[in-house]
Symmetry: C2
Subunit: 330 residues, 2 copies
């Protein structure tokens, strides 16, 4: 199964709609419309069918996954019936409004480079457990959205990552149990402002204003049964049409199952949480000695997950920045 979203406006403001497909190249169906029609066929009145379909198929993928099997069954029935197709020209928006966002570092060549960039040896902890930080789930954009360029940065980058979407609750899971809690995979561009990020990270709390202004996700979410994870999925970047890397998910030193299991320790997984794999090897400009310019078109591709295409915007003019403080303690 593949999950995506679009937006419609029938007079009450923009409303996201969930789409499903067995094969995105042959089109999408509107799951709520299909569920409403199915309920009418089963004997519900039109109004009751609309009310139930809206509850089972909300506009948020996180909220829909929270519904559990009823939502999954609605998707399967919608794809099977095929009676609510959307036009081929329908633009997709960000597939996932994540309930939470955790980002790991699992690609050894990339993180080894990252520590060299910071002038440090690779810390031992990187091989002891999957290290992560919490990102901002409130600034996600989708396919074809322009990447905003913050006023406080002169150096934007992309990061090509595998995104893991949690499908159902769970806590203290083992890796053997973990994949049952994954709804699917998607492409993640963990957009980064390298100048402010480098300054902030000397503080030791991780990235903040260097990351929190935007992440791109999509174009859709693909369920695990559609993918051959054993073989690894090829991960590629094209900038203005030119290929800049060719990597594979097979290089992750922690598996998808291990990332999900570790996240679940002493925490309850929430449907719609997004876990990022961390940047793949050679998956950002910093690592390959290149640099993005405003207006560049970045296309991130992962085998079986489509192409996530975003043009970078231009720096916006004005904003406030803090005035330095004088230390009182020497």
């Amino acid at each position: 199964m593949h999950y995506a979203r679009t937006v419609v406006d029938v007079g009450d403001g923009p409303q996201p709609r969930l789409l499903a497909s067995a094969d995105p190249s042959s089109g999408w169906v509107d799951v709520r419309t299909a569920e409403r029609l199915r309920l009418v066929r089963l004997g519900a009145t039109h109004q009751a069918a609309a009310r139930v379909a809206a509850a089972v198929v909300p506009g948020s993928l996180s909220e829909a996954l929270s519904v559990g099997p009823l939502f999954q069954e609605a998707c399967a029935a919608a794809v099977s019936a095929g009676d609510a197709p959307v036009a081929a020209s329908t633009p997709l928006v960000n597939a996932l409004d994540p309930a939470g966002y955790r980002d790991f570092m699992t690609f050894e060549r990339h993180f080894s480079f990252g520590y060299r960039w910071q002038g440090k040896p690779v810390p031992e902890v990187m091989y002891e457990l999957p290290v992560s930080y919490c990102g901002n789930p409130l600034a996600f954009i989708g396919p074809d959205d322009e990447v905003p360029w913050p006023h406080y940065s002169e150096h934007l980058d992309y990061e090509l990552e595998l995104g893991i979407v949690i499908g159902r609750p769970g806590t203290n899971l083992t890796p053997d149990e973990a994949l049952q809690h994954v709804a699917g995979l998607t492409i993640l561009n963990d957009v980064s402002a390298r100048d402010i990020q480098a300054r902030e990270m000397t503080g030791g709390l991780g990235p903040s204003k260097g990351k929190h202004f935007a992440c791109a996700v999509g174009p859709w979410v693909t369920s695990l049964d559609e993918l051959d994870l054993e073989a690894g999925l090829v991960m590629q970047t094209r900038v203005n049409g030119e290929t800049w890397n060719r990597s594979t998910t097979a290089d992750m030193i922690w598996s998808i199952a291990e990332l999900v299991a570790w996240t679940s320790q002493a925490e309850e997984l929430v449907p719609g949480m997004l876990l990022g794999s961390g940047t793949c090897n050679e998956g950002c400009t910093l690592e390959i000695g290149k640099r993005l310019a405003p207006g560049d078109l970045v296309e991130l591709e992962i085998e079986g997950l489509g192409v996530l295409r975003n043009r970078y915007g231009h720096p916006s003019g004005t904003g406030w920045t803090p005035a330095p403080r004088a230390p009182a303690i020497g």
Copy 2:
């Protein structure tokens, strides 16, 4: 105004209810009930009044703040009418289900200690801008809830912080504008597992499993007009009844207005976002050479914001931890 929450169950599972008060020591009113009664007095039918009151006064404080002035007016009318009091014995739950959570470091004695603890000098960036990390908004507990003790830690701590609750959207704000976007202040216990935190933070991405299992907040949120911020608010910790620190918000090197303004640069503030001040001076056991034991009762008090009281639990038995990897790159 003071905002709090309780939970009722009338047969459809636990439902949070928003409470308001002009003075918590003299009791709370149920805002949705009061709004329903007010709408009936204005001429609405009982059913329509219930429907509108549920929309204007949802059970989530983040969602309620997103309603804007209509919600604030409902609170003012409810407190003024006083016709929906709740019993004095009503237990409060976590006041805020945060839409997002950012935590800063603004108390110089505390962060200077923190870097010494890590064997590092204080980084210059700490005096250049307010450094923060994104925390996990999905694991908040409230007053009198037991603090869970993760299986992977032997060393839990509290952190006494001022919590700043965002009230309305805004972006690229100046400090002069910022306080208009604050709904109020609360007490925050940024619960920390020091052993795993120390290991993780050598990775440079900030705290993760050392923090993400729990934060406590409450007992309520107090609007700014009730407080004398110029004078500073006294911040105190008591453990098992013994006072362990006495600090003040006046020691923050970045003001509340500066923290909100910096957060808003290139990002849209979301109603219900929580910004933590970072641990106040002497506001955790690590800094004062003490240590918590399972079962300890921690009471955090900030002048005008009440007392946040939580007993620490006992380590839960089992879980999965990752097996180390062998580095492939020297």
